[in-house]
Amino acid sequence: MASLLPSTGRGENIAGKLLLLIVALLMCIGVVVVYSSGAGWAEQKFSDPQYFLWRQLTFAIAGMAVIFVVGAIDYHIFRKISKLFLFVSIGLLAILLLLKLAHVIHGAARWLGFGPLKFQASDLAKYAIIFHFSRLLSEKRAYIKDLHDGYYPMLVLLMIVVALVALEPNFSTASIIAIIGFTLMFIGGIRIKYLLATASLLIPIAAVFAIAAPYRVARLVSFGGGEKELSYQVRQALLGLGNGGLFGLGLGASKQRELYLPLSYNDFVFVIIGEEYGFIGALVILLLFSGLFACGIIIAKHAPDLFGRYVAIGVTFAIVFFAFINIAVACHLMPTTGVALPFISYGGTALLFNSLGIGLLVSISRYRKKVETIERAQALLESKGGSL
């Protein structure tokens, strides 16, 4: 029993607290940076420079509340509802697509809900996949290496979700969900040769799909091409980062945010961080996410059960992977995709979903403690009984 539990058990205690600290820090940074970069846009669009500030603050507080609430409840509840959760997600994605086919929705069918409570159906699906895969992987532990019983069911589910998201169309999110799913399966013990075989089949399909839409081709060309072919956004993003230099221009001094960089409070918020706080600031953000990753992994390693372990890994990976991809796009390491920076980018519901994930990690780390306490009490009881 001690194999996965460190003898002291202090590591994951610290991990849980550190995790909360990191997330709180990220949210604070988010509030400040979104205010700084979005004030001008807000002034223009809503005649209120503080528009983004209040909303982001509200969601940050709500996010903390979600973390504490979810952190307090037993995460196994998500195991029980995971199947329902997944089917509801798939259903919603399908409905969105149908509405799009019926020309009720024009353009990309990505959003659900009304007013401030709009959220991306893919966010829901992402968590549904994490939960259900964690459940399946833990349940199929015994025959996980089996192709038909272990791999295929999961692959089919994943492909359904990915295909639906891709058809929205939201190719980048679909790819990321696919990567999360495969990562979970990889961690869960699926045979690597199956995964590789699938990848060798899927990558050409994805490539064909990628070049099916002109805007995606344009993005790829602008990524692959020389400096002259850079898209406007990327060029401006690089200018912003470069202008920040090592130490940055200082709080609120970004010049890129309003005039040159569209969505500076959202997808390209990292550029504003790099511009105002420089390389040091950017490094701090990267370190915070790396810390978050480390905490998540520690929590996963010390999770009381396989479900918790997989959920912890899935959630951690999803959040940090999103963050890295966002940053990679901002500094032109990857082609442009519309991926937000978790906890920092403006956007309420995405923040709430991420808070849910953090809440789960907290819950898992706490549950482990609970189990430990019970075990210790039991051991004490046994020893007493033995002595008696």
Binding site: E258, F279, F321
Partner: protein, 651 residues
């Protein structure tokens, strides 16, 4: 241990090991990803930072060149012939305009267009719209000071012309750069230096001057003052245009010059063009023919022959010459006169413009001497007036003369000259034989009015002895106008001297079967103390061709009107000339009503009016009738005769 729980503890050995391994692989990959990002950021933000900073500053800075105001071209009295008027153009960035309604209203109130017109513009989904273009500064001043958000303005310049001396002044192109005439040759003086202002953009899009950048203030161009008198120029242009119309000519030119200094008072060409409306311009209209086009001058060139005869041969007005009955054959070629002159004196040969005498006299003078005088009077060389495209005419060196060159040249063929050169020759004669360099730029002065350069009259050469010049002016060229071919060039009250010229135009190397002429009159006044010289050249007149009928009357009208409207000319003529009284006499008075007045009263009234009384009938009576009707305009000093009668008291 509770075995119901699916804890990892249940699966030991390889599976746990495998999990750790796979987790390790994932962590490693993520670490790699992270490192890739860090190295990329390091590249952008630390190593390449200079490159990106430079790019960024280029993006944040806007360089605005402020066009310097182009200098003016002024006439001799400082009246602008060409000036740059600043106008304002308003533009807007509809995205930045907060209150489109109020802005539109403001513009509507200022410029009189409807509010909706501006609203439509302000609602366009563009980042740049012109709201109003080229409005006068006075109209725009209020809006310029308001600083409306999202609305900016640009200063633009437009060249406006008084619209005289079009070819002389020339044109500017779209960028306000001179492309012809003085606008081109004085480009460097007129253009000034554009200002450069570097603005930085703040995060909200407002512009402010960059604190550490060099701001270069625009420096207005220099003003160029010409010797041209706009009024006289206008008169000259009007008259030559009239002449072209009257005689169905293909073109005409005229120049008026101050003989004492060489200043050009007016220089006009026809066809001409509208400086302010420049569409459909042809090169024909833009040519400053008065200095670019050369002709065989014809009889006006006889000044060379006459000068040489007077100085080299010692001929006088009464020297007898032979007209050979109107025709003479030289080396098998016939030289004809328009009338069959017989024996006469040299004066008559000139006043009647005898080609026969001119040819034979030229031969008497000899080629070398003839050439010397032609050259001294300025033929065959540029005058140095400093205008673009000036032609130096064409005077062959003696070594290349044929047998007929000299006799033909005697009466103005086999030589080419521009109207300005011909005028210059007569101005030289008028100026006591001193050839002055003609000039048109009086002064260049800075925007502050300080003189930078001033043209001083330049004596080129003493071409003739002063006595010769005076003698010729009096005996020959005054006589031409008094009793010869130039009689229609007379100006009331001003004694004019001059010469007509009717030259047949060479066509395909032949004068035969070709009836195109150049009619010209060149003269100066007053003959005994000359101040001004003028030339009128009418090219290819159709309805008449003799210079006496075509060019001389134009000369008279132009100079008469010029003197009448130019105070300076009047002053020069009256101050320096004994003809002042003559001029005064020109002024007329109105004869008053004298009827019923007593003799003494009538005499006093007339005296006030500058008239004289000559009474008749019973002295001491009242006026019953007057010789000139009341209201009649008469010259001063006219005598009015009146009849007086004693009144019958008891009635």
């Amino acid at each position: 241990m509770n075995q119901a729980r699916t804890t990892p503890e249940n699966h030991r050995g390889t599976s746990d090991h495998e999990f750790s391994l796979r987790l390790g692989i994932m962590v490693a990959l993520m670490l790699l990803f992270c490192l890739a990002i860090v190295s990329k950021l390091l590249g952008i933000q630390v190593f390449d930072v200079k490159k990106y900073r430079a790019k960024a500053s280029r993006q944040y800075e806007t360089i605005v060149t402020e066009k310097a105001r182009r200098g003016r071209i002024l006439d001799r009295y400082g009246r602008p012939l060409a000036e740059s008027v600043e106008s304002i153009s308003f533009y807007a960035d509809p995205e930045q305009v907060n209150d489109a309604g109020a802005t539109a209203k403001l513009f509507a109130n200022t410029f009189g267009k409807s509010r909706d017109y501006y609203l439509d513009l302000l609602r366009k989904n563009k980042r740049f719209v012109w709201l109003e273009r080229n409005v006068p500064v006075s109209q725009a001043a209020k809006l310029m000071s308001l600083k409306i958000k999202g609305v900016g303005f640009r200063r633009e310049q437009h060249r406006y012309y008084l619209n005289v001396a079009a070819q002389l002044i020339g044109l500017t192109d779209r960028d306000n750069k001179g492309i012809s005439g003085l606008e081109k040759s004085f480009e460097s003086q007129l253009s000034g230096r554009d200002g450069v202002r570097i603005f930085q953009r703040s995060a909200t899009g407002e512009r402010y001057p960059a604190p550490d950048a060099d701001q270069v203030q625009p420096l207005a161009g220099n003003d160029v003052t010409l010797t041209i008198d706009a009024d006289v120029q206008g008169i000259l242009e009007e008259e030559i245009a009239q002449a072209v119309k009257e005689f169905k000519a293909s073109g005409a030119m005229g120049i008026i010059m101050d003989v004492r200094t060489g200043e050009i008072i007016a220089m006009a060409n026809y066809p001409t063009f509208d400086l302010n409306r420049r569409s459909g311009l042809t090169a024909d209209q833009m040519r400053n023919r008065a200095v670019t086009d050369m002709f065989e001058p014809g009889s006006t060139f006889k000044i060379v022959m006459a000068s040489a005869a007077t100085e080299a041969l010692g001929w006088r007005a009464e020297t007898p010459v032979d007209g050979h009955g109107g025709s003479i054959t030289i080396y098998g070629k016939q030289v004809r006169d328009h009338e069959p002159f017989g024996a006469m004196n040299f004066q008559k040969a000139i006043t009647e413009s005898s080609n026969v005498v001119a040819a034979s006299t030229a031969m008497r003078v000899g080629a070398t001497t003839f050439y010397r005088y032609a050259h001294a009077l300025g033929f065959g060389q540029k005058t140095g007036v400093g205008l673009i495209g000036e032609s130096g005419g064409f005077l062959k060196p003696v070594s290349r003369w044929g047998k007929m060159t000299l006799p033909w040249m005697g009466y103005g063929y086999q030589v080419m000259a521009t109207p300005l050169q011909v005028l210059q020759a007569y101005a030289t004669l008028a100026n006591d034989g001193v050839r002055m360099r003609p000039f048109i730029i009086k002064r260049v002065s800075g925007p502050d009015g300080k003189t930078i350069e001033e043209t001083r009259p330049l004596k080129v050469v003493q071409a003739l002895k002063p006595e010769t010049a005076h003698y010729m002016a009096r005996e020959y060229f005054r006589a031409v106008v008094e009793k010869g071919t130039g009689m229609s060039a007379k100006i009331e009250g001003i004694p004019v001297a001059g010469k007509t010229g009717t030259a047949q135009k060479l066509h395909n190397g032949s004068y035969q079967g070709w009836r195109y002429y150049v009619a010209s009159f060149v003269g100066f006044f007053p003959y005994d103390n000359p101040q001004y010289a003028a030339i009128i050249v009418v090219d290819e007149p159709q309805t008449a061709y003799y210079a006496s009928a075509v060019a001389a009357p134009v000369f008279s009208r132009v100079c008469g009107r010029a003197v009448a409207c130019s105070l300076e000319m009047q002053k020069r003529l009256s101050m320096k000339s004994p003809e002042k009284e003559l001029l005064d006499r020109v002024s007329t008075v109105v004869v008053p009503e004298l009827k019923g007045l007593r003799e003494s009263e009538a005499a006093k009234l007339l005296e006030w009016n500058g008239l004289k009384l000559e009474p008749s009938g019973s002295s001491g009576g009242s006026v019953t009738s007057q010789s000139i009707a009341p209201g009649t305009k008469v010259q001063k000093e006219t005598t009015v005769r009146v009849r007086l009668a004693k009144r019958v008291q008891n009635k």
